[in-house]
């Protein structure tokens, strides 16, 4: 059993569930305590010892089904099938098996174990023998479904199917000719069906092993993969997962901020002030004074391109801005295509989904026009320049594809002069900047940093730098 658990642990690891050696040991101890007669308890024991992240639970359930419902179930089903084909009730079948056992005993000890177990319908022993044979031929090294036939034959050989066939023939011959005896006719039928059943068991078992392989090969740790995938190529399911990731990100951000704030609460010991204040105590330092660090509240102004070309990316950026706005009081957000409009109050008052939908739906600005960064920047410079002071970080998200309009890059210079820093995040890959109608190079001159931000991991990095230390 221990082997089986260790193999199961490996299977889980192959599927991106982290299972440590210590946890495998726990599982072994737990299994020894619980036993595996009661499937639900056994499953619960493995689940609690091996799976520690709730998002791994579905993978565990799936793998458990495949791995442990295995051979025993197949053999049981095959036995049932034989009984059904012979149209007997369970009781009749039981009595019939007893007859068979008597007949086998009369035949003496020449029979192989396999034949005996098979005919006596001893599923436990049969399972053990097949599992042993499977280990012998290293069935778990099967990799492609094309190999299934080959492995099925190998398994049959390892089990000793050749010998079994011979034995069956001789048993068949030793039975009285069937015209005389109904019982012997049934016995003959039973032998044949059993042979077929064994064949069936072997095939199904090998196929099931193949399925396990496939699960193993299937996408492993999925979140990590999404992290490196560009915003443009996400499917709906991945978008959902991405949403989840951004929420997690915001939460992580909150805890980072909490820790950094706590560390920053007290500054260094201020000797001068301490001495001055304690003059009245004769210089004995009763009251200690520390530098008080000024809290560095981030003031962020976010300009987000919501034109069709960057739609996915801007959605996530807005979602991030939304969390940021929940976190800090001084965040202002704007969306633009050709016009520019403020969405700060929208984000403040509504819940995330509604706010995002409203921001992207065209209520604030016309989202169906062609991008015109120049005019949007000029409008911003005219109307909202007051939003920026020397502590403001300005973040612009956009691909800088200006449709050959006037770039008005002087607006950026104005913004840059007033702001603490100006960051441009471009969801296009770096190689394409400056080609075609991209004005990235012209705008980049006025920015402190220009980052490629086309997937979640890059977003992570950007955010980490944004949070003040």
């Amino acid at each position: 059993m221990d082997d089986k658990l260790i193999e199961f642990a490996n299977l889980m690891r192959d599927n991106g569930v982290r299972v440590s050696t210590a946890e495998t040991l726990d599982a072994v101890a737990a299994a020894a305590l619980i036993g595996f007669r009661d499937r639900d308890s056994f499953r619960a024991a493995l689940r609690s010892t091996m799976v520690k992240r709730s998002r791994d639970l579905p993978a565990f359930e799936q793998l458990f089904e495949i791995y442990f419902s295995g051979l025993g179930e197949i053999i049981k089903q095959a036995g049932e099938a034989v009984r059904n084909e012979m149209a007997m009730t369970e009781r009749e079948f039981q009595e019939f098996i007893e007859q068979v056992e008597k007949f086998l005993k009369e035949q003496g000890n020449e029979l192989s174990d396999l034949a005996r177990r098979l005919l006596e319908n001893n599923s436990g022993e049969l399972q053990r023998m097949i599992a042993a044979a499977a280990r012998e031929i290293q069935l778990n090294r099967m990799e492609r479904s094309l190999e299934q036939n080959h492995f099925a034959q190998a398994l049959a050989r390892a089990l000793g199917l050749d010998r079994l066939q011979g034995e069956m023939r001789s048993l068949h011959d030793r039975l009285p000719p069937q015209e005389d005896d109904l019982a012997s006719a049934r016995m003959k039928e039973y032998f044949e069906r059993r042979m077929k059943a064994l064949d069936d068991i072997i095939r199904r078992y090998v196929r099931m092993q193949g399925e396990q392989r496939e699960v193993r090969a299937r996408a492993s740790s999925q979140l990590d993969q999404v992290g490196d995938k560009s915003f443009f190529f996400l499917s709906q399911e991945e978008l959902d997962r991405m949403n989840q990731a951004v929420t997690q990100l915001a939460q992580r951000l909150k805890s980072i901020v909490a820790v950094r704030r706590r560390h920053a609460r007290r500054g260094r010991f201020d000797i001068k002030r301490t001495l001055r204040h304690n003059l009245q105590n004769g210089g004995v330092p009763f009251d200690l004074h520390f530098d008080r660090r000024r809290k560095d509240k981030p003031q962020v102004v976010m300009l987000c391109d919501v034109s069709d070309s960057v739609r996915n990316a801007s959605r996530f950026m807005l979602q991030f801005v939304y969390s940021l706005q929940e976190l800090y009081s001084r965040v202002r957000s704007f969306v633009f295509v050709a016009e520019i409009g403020e969405v700060t109050p929208l984000f403040r008052d509504r819940d995330l989904k509604e706010a995002l939908d409203a921001a992207l739906s065209g209520d604030i600005i016309n989202v169906y026009s062609h991008s015109n960064f120049g005019s949007a920047f000029r409008a911003f410079a005219h109307e909202h320049l007051g939003a920026i002071n020397r502590r403001t970080t300005v973040i612009i998200l956009g691909d800088a594809r200006n449709n050959y309009n006037l770039p008005h890059d002087w607006c950026l210079r104005e913004i840059r002069q007033r702001a603490q820093r100006l960051i441009w995040l471009n969801p296009e890959s770096r190689g394409t900047w400056g080609f075609g109608d991209s004005e990235m190079e012209r705008y980049a001159v006025h920015c402190d940093t220009v980052e490629e931000c086309r997937n979640l991991n890059q977003l992570y990095r950007v955010i980490d730098r944004l949070v003040p230390r």
Partner: protein, 319 residues
């Protein structure tokens, strides 16, 4: 100690807690393997309750440590009772003077005091906090570390050390070893991911919202005064509320509160006006209430179409 999984279920049932096979198995394993249990799940599925019931079922004392941001060792483990020490030294001033009377010179006096200082740094002046109480208790206890995700990562690391050795070193006194290993239950709302090291040492139990039948059974156990039809309707309603996207999904405790409130108002089926008025017992946010009302309307409409046509009193169901 529990003798089998069934024993766990039975004793939990005595305490009015319906433990699924999975929960019972994990509890049994934890008590036999002496491992802490990390319980995760949404708010209101009965995580804290689990620990309370565990203590009651075993007739152990429950020691609870509520975690919060900034929780540190002096709040969780032990603290010196400065005030008491000060008081004692004031009262014993004369005695101290006596001890010191024979000494010549400052150095000798300090030496003499130093020889006696373990009087003041003894277990007498230690103020035990939950963790120390749990491991120095004569009888085994259930230690509930509630909402561990609220505590800082440093505290988690500290807890880890305690949970692996079950001993504490107080510099002035020495090492205090556990007299009996406590059963530890940690709960987490998943506000942040716990460290792998902690998870590795624990048995993990994820409690999900119960299905319809389970919740009905729980409600009947906890609020036996409610009529069957009301319980049935409320549970169906809450189950459907959980499917829509709410800021805070109603938990089991909310279901029970709601049923109790409705029973108090002498209702035996859901009625629109009263349900609307009491909706804030299960839904806690303004935006959620709006969504819930919408859902409720649909729900009641369905319900009415299925219910046998009643007399005029049903007319104002949908105002």
């Amino acid at each position: 100690m529990f003798s089998s999984i069934e024993d766990v279920s039975d004793r939990f049932a005595e305490q009015k807690y319906i433990a699924s096979r999975r929960i019972a198995t994990v509890i049994y394993l934890a008590s036999r393997l002496m491992k802490p249990i990390l319980v995760e799940g949404a708010a209101g599925v009965g995580k804290t309750e689990l620990a309370k019931v565990l203590a009651a079922a075993l007739d152990y004392e429950l020691i609870r440590l509520q975690c919060y941001e900034g929780l540190d060792e002096s709040k969780a483990l032990y603290e010196w009772e400065y005030a008491k020490q000060l008081l004692y030294s004031q009262i014993l001033k004369d005695k101290i003077g006596e001890v010191l009377s024979g000494s010549r010179g400052l150095a000798e006096a300090v030496d003499q005091i130093a020889r006696e200082d373990n009087v003041f740094f003894s277990e007498r002046f230690i103020l035990p906090r939950p963790l120390l109480r749990a491991i120095t208790s004569e009888r085994p206890v259930v230690l509930l570390v509630d909402e561990i995700d609220k505590a800082d990562a440093e505290f988690e690391a500290f807890l880890l050390e305690l949970l692996s050795d079950f001993q504490v070193t107080v510099p002035e006194i020495g090492t205090l070893r556990a007299r009996s290993i406590p059963l530890v239950v940690l709960t987490s709302n998943n506000a942040r991911e716990m460290s792998d090291a902690l998870k590795r040492r624990c048995l993990h139990l994820y409690i999900d919202f119960p299905d319809h039948a389970q919740e009905l059974a729980i409600v009947k156990l906890k609020a036996p005064e409610a009529s069957h039809s009301l319980a049935e309707e409320v549970v169906t309603m809450v189950q459907s509320l959980r499917k829509i996207d709410l800021k805070k999904t109603p938990g089991i405790s909310e279901t029970i509160d709601w049923i109790k409130a409705l029973t108090l108002l002498n209702l035996d089926t859901l009625e629109h006006q009263l349900v609307n008025d009491t909706l804030d017992t299960i839904v806690k946010y303004e935006a959620d209430i709006r969504k819930a009302q919408e859902e409720l309307k649909n729900h009641l409409r369905d319900l009415r179409s299925r219910r046998p046509p009643a007399s005029g009193e049903d007319k104002d169901l949908l105002n």
